[in-house]
Amino acid sequence: MRSLSPRRAAFGILLLAAAGQAAAQAPAADYAAYPCLSYSLECGKLATRRPQLKQLDGALNGNAEKGKQLAQARNSGNCLACHVMKGGSQPGTRGPDLSHYGNAGRSDAETYSMIHDMRTRNPDTLMPPFGTNAILSDPEIRDIVAFLQASK
């Protein structure tokens, strides 16, 4: 048995901690409808869906409570991966803090368009095109806009 130096002991503890956060594997989904890196499969030849400016049609009619859940769920919007948001745990830090977004006085329409496809404002954005790539449906984006506007 080797002796346990303090440094090694610390690393050992970390090893255990890492075991605890075993990330739930994403369900095996069919992503072949989007571009992939293959040189031979069809998805390797698919085009990126072009940036799409979509206007909010009619009144918002969003449900803020539903929007909150959609924004947090890893298999849905998962906005928390990059943004601090109201009521979310383990937020990401790369995007702007959205926890008081409702105080910024941005319109529903502008917010809707940004979530639908941020590339229309910033071609190099890190943010996924949630509407264009069908990650979120129109009613789901409305719910999230309502949640953001209610975040004060």
Partner: protein, 302 residues
């Protein structure tokens, strides 16, 4: 960092020149803005990139910065290198090396030609893994440690030891352990490897999948690298290839570098490719060149 206007204009001009006549057939594809990486610098290219290399380059530096282990803001700067070799007590990766060694001995008993094939005709495996991936003129393709094992098993033993299988990973981690400490030296003088590097580099910046992410979305300066992505923080891609296959503590199994690519792809909601896929081979060449000059560091755990 966003490229400034003159750089963009220059890039536009260059790409016009490169497009040529086939341009019309190419589908519209988006790419993350390319970071400047000079392949000739190997792992030193991290200087001016993530600039974390000085914190994890040597044993002494890792020791000096051990206070960052477990610190959610600082730990990413160590590129997880404190998890390599015998820096962790009772490292499960060591057991995997032992199992791989026993397996190699067993297969070698069945047919000594298997070990000879693994060693490319040499007497042992010492230092050999550090030169992978390499171009095999006879096979006419680029060979990784994992594909080499698969090839030897098939041609000599008539047995399938597929890349990405637990048996292949065990043999690979043993094979690489025979080069532990040897600086990685992918041959940049080989034209075929450089072509592969350039293809791999292009793939690294190509946006894919439902989330429209590239590898670079998370692994270059100015991207998500160094920032929290919920519970995780993506780190520099420099020197990653050095510690693969790695023992994944959360699932209690070895994982090859190409299996890790597939795991990132699943997070990116992008179709996962199989270990050995030509695109993954090119990505592995790209990433291993980013480890040139850094010692092979198996066994490791992540």
């Amino acid at each position: 960092m966003r490229p400034n206007m003159p750089v963009l204009a220059l890039a536009a001009l260059l790409s016009l020149g490169a497009l040529g006549s086939a341009a019309a057939a190419e589908p519209y594809r988006e790419h993350y803005p390319q970071a400047r990486i000079d392949p000739a610098r190997g792992v030193d290219g991290d200087i001016g990139f993530s600039d974390t290399l000085p914190f994890w380059r040597t044993e002494a530096e890792l020791e000096r910065n051990a206070k960052w282990v477990g610190d959610p803001h600082e730990q990413w700067k160590l590129n997880w290198k404190f998890m390599d070799l015998d820096r962790v007590e009772l490292h499960p990766g060591h057991l995997a090396v032992d199992e791989g060694e026993a397996m190699a001995a067993r297969l070698g008993q069945r047919s000594p030609a298997f070990l000879l094939c693994l060693a490319d005709g040499g007497k042992d495996l010492k230092g050999r893994a550090a030169a992978y991936p390499k171009y095999d003129a006879m096979l006419g393709r680029i060979v990784t440690v994992e594909s080499h094992i698969e090839h030897c098993a098939k041609t000599v033993l008539n047995e399938e030891i597929r890349q990405g299988s637990p048996a292949n990973n065990k043999l690979a981690v043993y094979f690489k352990s025979q080069s532990a400490g040897t600086p990685i030296k992918v041959d940049l003088g080989d034209g075929k490897l450089m072509e592969s590097y350039r293809r791999g580099e292009k793939l690294f910046y190509a946006k894919t999948g439902q989330l429209n992410f590239a590898c670079a979305t998370c692994h270059v300066p100015g991207s998500i690298m160094g920032h929290k992505l919920r519970g995780e923080t993506p780190t520099t891609p420099f020197a990653d290839a050095a510690h693969y296959p790695t023992y994944r503590t959360p699932v209690g199994a070895l994982e090859s570098l190409q299996e890790r690519f597939a795991r990132c792809h699943s997070q990116m909601r992008t179709l996962q490719l199989k270990p050995g896929d030509p695109a993954y081979v090119d990505l592995e060449v790209f990433m291993t060149v980013l480890s040139n000059g850094y010692p092979v560091s198996v066994p490791s755990a992540r």
